[in-house]
Amino acid sequence: MLARFPVSIAWPMNDSFKRGAREGFRLFLPMSVGLIPWALVTGVAMRSAGFSPVEAMGMNLIVFAGTAQIGTLPLIAAGAPLWLIVLTALVLNLRFVIFSAALAPAFEGQSWRRRLASSYLLVDGVFAVCSERILRSHDPHWRWGCFIAPSLWAWVLWQFFVLAGVLGAGSIPRDWSLEFMATIALMVMLVPMTQLRPMLVAALAGGLAAVALRGLPLKLGLIVGIVVGIAAGFAAEHLGVQRRRA
């Protein structure tokens, strides 16, 4: 059972906050270097999709979600219907519902403002390397430090290198097919997920269904493809469990 302490809205620069912040930073620092190529690619991809530098950085500050940014670029560039763009962004970030559910106990007793900020700042990497330590701690100051320090570091690093990509994109010739960087980025995100068999099945089914259903109006093939992929992954998981029992 987690103890509930009253927590002030102000930054508590007390010792346990600082110790938590140091620990979170130490855990996340090595992994955070991996954000740099993503950020550069995202910056370049937004420019090659036709955004001005201001629009690109505007999206980056407002959205702050790399996968959803890169994933929706081709739809925005093609003038796809707004609902499809928003739905695609939502699906691409659905994984965070699971992360959010896992982290929720750590935010017991925290202010609404901090929870809102955390909702905007939560990234895969911080969840991956810090969540276990955060959930093991019973000190809300320590937990908040361990979450917010690496999260802010990720935000600063991301904004800086996206800006570098946005500014650098102008000096690369137009006919270098830079939009393909976005496709590569999506593939690199996909590859580690498919180490698990049902996940691979979900990806194959989703991809092939999206290709097969390309004739559907309003780019609906994308959404139906995703649903087919989820169903296929789920089915593969069940078959796998049954086979192990047999």
Binding site: Q69, V86, A89, N93, V97, I98, G207
Partner: protein, 108 residues
């Protein structure tokens, strides 16, 4: 291309769509529980979505199926780089190099 005010409205809506899932349980608190079946189904959403976005770009030329194209060849190199190496830059460098050589060097 979506332009002007609509582009900014699109950004705000995407922000809501991406912050929503991140905030869901952090904002609602730990009292609310996600049904386990839904939780397991949701695990497959990102893989399915990423593949559904990538596959048409690699396999289609306009609306017709065309598997023999430079993008797919480059994608295979990207797959190789992403699975064999831990260098985060390699898939981008190798993939773009193959695509550029095939398109500009060989005129494919």
């Amino acid at each position: 291309m979506i332009e002007g005010a609509w582009l900014w409205i699109t950004f705000v809506l995407i922000a809501l769509a991406t912050t929503g899932p991140r905030g869901s349980f952090i904002l609602l608190g730990a009292r609310v529980r996600l049904p386990p079946v839904l939780q397991r189904a949701l695990r497959y959403a990102p893989a399915a979505a990423l593949a559904a976005l990538v596959a048409p770009d690699l396999l289609l030329d306009g609306d017709t199926l065309d598997p023999a194209n430079p993008k797919l060849a480059a994608a295979l190199v990207v797959l190789l780089a992403a699975t064999r190496s831990r260098n985060p830059w390699l898939p981008f460098i190798a993939g773009m190099a193959v695509l550029l050589v095939l398109r500009k060097g060989l005129g494919w």
